[in-house]
Amino acid sequence: MILYSLDRKFSAKNMLFVYAGVTMFCLAFSTIYARYSHNVSSDYMTYLFVCPLLLGCVPAFLLMKVSEIGKLGRISYNAYHSGVAALTVSSMLRGIFEIAGTSSEFQTYLTYAGLVMAGVGILFLLLEIGTRFMCRLR
């Protein structure tokens, strides 16, 4: 069953396709980067694909399996995906910096921003689901 958010385009199925694409891109990016990094490696680069896979594909797959819970709010939707994007980019930056032998505080800020946004997204999603559940009970 498909879970609708705001529009048919943003169904869980589409979300799965998009995140599968991002996962493949990350896998290709880290593989190519490893070829030119003179055997210097970073776990953040090697496992870059894990972020969109675990935070994108898996939730999308699970949402496809659960029963329809109605439309989701824009805030939770945008916040969560923005958070996952920030965490993926942050992981990529951390990998690049570790391989180069340096670091940046701006990458750390991006990680915090990603965690906050993804957290806000999940919180709003739970609140919405909770509210609807309560309404149904009444």
């Binding site: 705001l6 385009k9 003179h38 939707y77 994007a85 920030a86 930056l93 570790e98 032998g101």
Partner: protein
């Protein structure tokens, strides 16, 4: 157009706008972070200014005593100048004057071309360090050969590339530029004292200020240390950060004060595989070093002598000299 359809379109537009705005913001932030980390020069301090301030400070602190020392020093300087006026004998791989002796040997070990400079000095003041564009700062870079020429060097190798990091002690020619300890386990530094002696220290055990008081004139923060008190201190599997392979290397070692060995190895080419840190340490020990330290390697590894690059530096897969923050040179 129905009311619901209008609402849906408006919402879709809002989503697209957010996605567009966020994509642009995230891309911009990523580009800024990369440029800030790798390209944009910052926290720049002119080295000549630093030298002046150090000298002024010393003058104020020492007063009359300083005048006496300055007199003695100027006598030494005059003596050195007179000695230096004797014409040095220069060949393709050696330099011989009354104060400086440099002999560069090219050897082949571990499928790698290795350049070994045996250096003997009369004065520790001949072992100096130079900064790119004569300035200290993050991302301030220049090629080893250019920094060497700017400093009228006879011989030079790349330094520790301090400008790639925000942490680690940095002292150059007696001026302490950075006293921030490095985080993590790999925080061994090379300290060169006024008398030309070397010491390998751990930043977690001593402050930069204490080293300055002990008479340090140069502190390099890359590492790890290779040999300490005649013993190899690097493990067979130890590497710089996550690197687990052979690479071009630069190392500096002391046999005794004023007698040094500087090694640069090629690597990352079809002709030369490169060295592991353990192989490098073994080589330094073979040459009799009692203290030895690994400087920045990889594409940075460059040996320059008498206007020519000696080794084959690699940068982005090509035989090309890379710009670095600093050099160690003989003058």
């Amino acid at each position: 157009m129905g009311k619901n359809e209008q609402m849906s379109n408006r919402k879709k537009r809002r989503i697209n706008l957010w996605a567009l705005f966020y994509s642009i913001a995230l891309t911009g932030y990523t580009i800024f972070t990369l440029l800030y980390t790798f390209v944009i020069p910052r926290d720049v301090v002119s080295m000549s200014g630093a030298w002046n301030s150090v000298n002024q400070e010393k003058e104020v602190n020492h007063g009359d005593e300083n005048q006496q020392i300055a007199g003695e020093k100027s006598g030494i300087e005059e003596g050195r100048e007179q000695e230096d006026t004797m014409m040095p004998v220069i060949t393709d791989n050696s330099y011989e004057s009354s104060t400086i002796s440099i002999k560069i040997d090219t050897i082949r070990e571990y499928d790698t071309d290795i350049y070994v400079a045996d250096i003997r000095l009369k004065s520790a003041q001949s072992l100096l360090s130079g900064l790119a564009k004569n300035s200290f700062g993050r991302n301030v870079t220049e090629k080893t050969s250019e920094i060497a020429k700017d400093n009228d060097a006879i011989f030079a190798v790349n330094g520790d590339f301090y400008g790639f990091r925000d942490e680690g002690y940095v002292m150059r020619n007696g001026y302490l530029y950075r006293s921030t300890k490095r985080s993590g386990n790999n925080n061994e530094d090379l300290v060169i004292y006024e008398d030309g002696s070397f010491e390998i220290i751990n930043e977690s055990e001593v402050t930069a200020g204490e080293l300055e008081e002990k008479g340090a004139v140069q502190i390099f923060s890359f590492g790890p240390g290779l040999i300490q008190d005649g013993e190899i201190i690097v493990g067979e599997k130890d590497e710089v950060d996550q690197s687990m392979t052979s690479n071009p290397r630069t190392a500096i070692g002391m046999i005794e004060p004023l007698h040094y060995i500087i090694v640069v190895s090629d690597g990352r080419t079809s002709e030369s595989e490169g060295l592991t840190l353990y192989q490098l340490a073994g080589l330094m020990k073979e040459y009799g070093c009692t203290q030895a330290y690994n400087l920045d390697g990889g594409g940075s590894s460059t040996m320059w002598f008498n206007g020519e690059i000696v080794n084959q530096p690699t940068s982005h897969g090509k035989i090309k000299e890379r710009s670095v923050s600093d050099i160690v040179f003989i003058r």
